[in-house]
């Protein structure tokens, strides 16, 4: 186990370096000059533009910029935004907000998704199962902006239960609506994955044995059925946690949540390469650790899986 974790951690290094490198060059290859863009519709003053570029470290070759960036990164310096703030501070502000939002969405899709999936799987072919399939199909096919828009109009404008946008990102109550929107698509997948897995495992030998042993129903379903059916779901949930954090751009935009998605959106719009790369570095780390966690969970769920 220990050796497995160590090996996995070592494997992360080339993945990490690779993604950071790719993102660095991708953001720097976007068309348009970020320094000149500060002047908007007006033509940039050439002397001032040159001074800006020098100050932002944009007056050297892309490779030199890359080396400088990587060098700084390993000393914990993520660079600066255009309004003179450290990127690390911007991340530090946005990340907790998005983590709160993503965790809420995660809990929502976990509890509701597995719950619905379990019930549907147990009652395969019955009305509940069929309506679950329809409902989840509906959720998968509605684009997030549409869903967000509908929820905003129904719950905020017409019913007046919440404010249309989030007024304070520390207020969990206000975050529920965006979290539901954010988690809804994954919820549909979780429900469907659980349902299929449950329905399949119902026919497994160990289920028959468990029932034959006369175990109470709660134990049959809880320990034997659910636990064995969770492997595909956990795989999905693991990668989904990362996707929730990165994919919050749309939801955060609709509900005006000042998190990672919003910051990324603005940074891309302003070609702030340093900010974009900084956020992506953090997201890559989230993904890497989430997938490590998933792999470790396999062994917990299914003791036959062992890591030497």
């Amino acid at each position: 186990m220990g050796r497995y974790v160590a090996r996995r951690l070592l494997q992360m290094i080339p993945v990490f370096l690779g993604t950071v490198t790719i993102i660095f060059f991708m953001t720097r290859m976007l068309p348009g000059d970020p320094a000149a863009a500060m002047w908007g519709d007006k033509a940039a003053d050439p002397a001032q533009l040159a001074a800006f570029k020098h100050d932002m470290g944009l007056d050297v070759s892309k490779w030199q910029q890359y080396l400088n960036y990587m060098g700084d990164l390993f000393t914990g310096d993520f660079g600066k935004t255009m309004n003179g703030r450290k990127v690390i501070d911007v991340i530090g502000e946005a990340l907790p907000v998005t983590i709160r939002l993503a965790l809420l969405a995660f809990v929502f899709e976990l509890v509701v998704g597995i719950g619905i999936g379990l019930l549907a799987g147990l009652r395969r072919g019955k009305a509940f199962d069929k309506s679950t399939l329809v409902l989840t199909l509906l959720l998968i096919s509605i684009p997030v902006p549409v869903l967000g828009f509908i929820f905003q109009n129904v719950f905020a404008i017409q019913l007046g239960w919440v404010t249309p946008t989030v007024q304070s990102s520390t207020n969990l109550g206000q975050l529920i609506l965006p979290a539901v929107v954010l988690g809804s698509i994954s919820l549909a997948y979780v429900a469907r994955l659980t349902r299929t897995s449950i329905a399949e495992n119902l026919k497994a030998d160990y289920m028959r044995t468990a029932v034959a042993k006369g175990l109470p129903k709660r134990k049959v379903i809880g320990t034997h059925l659910l636990r064995n059916s969770m492997i595909p779901v956990v795989t999905f949930l693991g990668t989904d946690l990362g996707a929730l954090m990165g994919g919050a751009i749309v939801t955060e935009g609709i509900f005006n949540v000042q998190g990672v998605g919003n910051s990324l959106y603005h940074a891309i719009g302003r070609s702030e390469g340093a900010t974009v790369s900084g956020f992506v570095v953090v997201l890559v780390l989230v993904f890497l650790f989430a997938s490590l966690l998933v792999d470790l969970l396999y062994a917990v769920l299914d003791p036959r899986i062992r890591y030497a």
Partner: protein, 544 residues
């Protein structure tokens, strides 16, 4: 239909959960008559965006930071929001006999928010610092009229001086400005925020200051919660003529205008910047008499790439005039743009001093027959096809397509939009003069004077001359106007220069921008100036 009822149950459960947690967080009370008693200490919120740069007067070009700076600082003069006329603020008088040498006398009693007095030195030091290339101020070229600018801001290399020879402090309340040449409307420029004074404390640590500025304006800085809001509070010792009628402003960040609009409708936001395009059709019914629809000092046009081989020949002016006549401005502004723009018939936006109605004359009037005739007489469009370059991220597609349709139907010239993914990439092409055909251009006034719409956009080599237009006649008239001894005369002379544009048609004026906005039930007396900004100091917060 058990399936349906189950689905309903799930929705209901979510709804119940939301209702249970949302209690007490939403629901700001609404109501009150339109002219209730005002609470002079009350604060209101305004739809804003995260400032792009540190908050320094010479560093605010975009609206997010620019507006905040305008409330924190006050320069020598500003523009009366009701009519755009120049009025003195910190300046007691600004005198000149030759439009080149100015003597400024300051009023006494003005203080910065830290209590230190505003003196002649506060201005001179601030301008010298801001003009210096090394200090990276985005508005540094605003000082280029002043003598000695080239020393602190050379075209290349490091500055050779830290002060401009044209600025001299006489005593605490007097200083002189010497320009490199006569600029009759220099006073008008002085209303721009870049010319604001700075307190001594600024120079000790500009970087720190940019995060918590100390100004001399009607409002003092309270806090900047990055990516969330900037808060300012009324400054009780403010010496200007526009004392705040409210206690302060919260500039609340919105990443999408739709969200801000919804917050406004539900009274969670007090004053709106602009109604988003999708709500334009209904905002007047939603807001009633709280809806705002008024002219703004900005114009949308399409310019010709006069530097490209296709458009170089001089005889093509007729073709350009013909294309302008082929555009049905009235219909497009009413339908495609939902009435959010006003058809243009000159190159200067109304509200600016020197604006003259209909300088474009018949060339800006829709007339398909005459349009076709002019295009034919001018020898036709090269290749019988034109493209209109625009940035796809700014909501321009619809009207560009409509303009093209109009041209196609009226003249038979093939016309297509040429979208570029974003503003930056389209600006790159325009700036580097790599456009062949037409391009979307626009101008938002820096100061409400026609010179700003003409000299700075159509003068030979002017920074914003995207068309590459160069007319000796226009330049001559503009130079004469600049030498005039009064602003009034300048404005009149610039109208003559504007007539030349109708003859050459380097750019087709399409329509003027309008401020389409609104306010919540919590505030009253909300008016907008020609810059499209609310008159912040006049806003009254209703007594609760």
């Amino acid at each position: 239909m058990r399936g349906a009822s189950q689905a309903k149950w799930v929705v209901a459960a979510v709804a119940v959960a939301l209702a249970a947690t949302a209690c007490g967080s939403g629901g700001s009370s609404s109501g009150g008559s339109s002219n209730g008693a005002a609470n002079a200490q009350g604060t209101f919120s305004y739809q804003s965006t995260e400032p792009q740069n540190p908050l320094q007067p010479a560093n605010a070009m975009e609206v997010g930071g620019g507006r905040i700076i305008k409330t924190l600082f006050k320069g020598l003069v500003d523009y009366d929001p009701s009519n755009g006329e120049l009025r003195n603020q910190v300046a007691d008088k600004i005198e000149t006999t030759d439009a080149q040498n100015y003597t400024v006398t300051l009023k006494s009693g003005w203080t910065f928010h830290d209590g230190t007095p505003v003196t002649a030195k506060s201005f001179v030091d601030a301008w010298n610092w801001s003009a210096n290339t090394k200090n990276n101020q985005i508005n540094s070229d605003w000082f280029s009229d002043i003598q000695g600018y080239a020393d602190v801001h050379p075209d290349e290399g490091d500055p050779t001086a830290t002060t401009m020879s044209g600025l001299k402090v006489v005593d605490d309340t007097h200083f002189t400005i010497a320009l490199t040449g006569p600029v009759s409307y220099f006073e008008y420029k002085l209303g721009y925020t870049a010319f604001s004074p700075l307190p001594e404390v600024f120079f000790t640590d500009p970087a720190k200051y940019g995060q918590s500025p100390i100004g001399n304006g009607p409002y003092k800085f309270v806090s900047w919660e990055h990516n969330k809001a900037v808060t300012v509070a009324a400054y009780d010792k403010y010496a200007g003529i526009d004392k705040p009628k409210n206690g302060g402003i919260v500039f609340k960040n919105y990443s999408q205008a739709e969200g801000a609009y919804k917050d406004l409708v539900s009274d969670n936001l007090d004053v709106l910047d602009q109604v988003d395009p999708s709500d334009l059709a209904s905002y007047k019914t939603d807001l009633g008499d709280r809806a705002v629809d008024q002219a703004q000092g900005a114009i949308q046009s399409i310019s010709f790439s006069l530097y490209a081989d296709d458009w170089k020949p001089a005889n093509l002016a007729k073709v350009r005039q013909g294309l302008s006549m082929a555009i049905d401005r009235d219909t497009i502004t009413k339908t495609v743009l939902n009435g959010s723009r006003q058809p243009a018939n000159s190159w200067v936006a109304p509200g600016a001093m020197g604006y003259k109605d209909n300088t474009c004359g018949e060339y800006c009037t829709y007339n398909p027959e005459k349009a076709k005739q002019l295009v034919t007489e001018g020898g036709g469009v090269p290749g019988n096809k034109i493209t209109v370059l625009y940035n796809a991220d700014g909501g321009h597609k619809e009207w560009v397509d409509a303009v093209c349709n109009s041209i196609r139907q009226a003249t038979g010239v093939e016309c297509v939009g040429d979208p570029k993914p974003d503003f930056k990439s389209s600006r790159d092409l325009i700036k580097n003069k790599k456009v062949d055909g037409l391009m979307r251009t626009g101008w938002v006034q820096d100061y409400p004077l026609n010179a700003n719409f003409l000299r700075d956009v159509y003068g030979t080599g002017a920074a914003a001359n995207d068309a590459g237009y160069s007319s000796p006649e226009f330049d001559k008239l503009a130079a004469e106007a600049d030498k005039a001894t009064s602003v009034k005369e300048t404005a009149d002379l610039y109208q003559k220069a504007e007539e030349q544009l109708a003859k050459d048609m380097p750019a087709i004026p399409l329509w003027y921008y309008k401020t389409t906005a609104g306010y919540s039930k919590n505030v009253q007396n909300v008016k907008y100036d020609s810059f499209g900004d609310p008159v912040f100091t006049q806003v009254e917060v209703k007594q609760k």
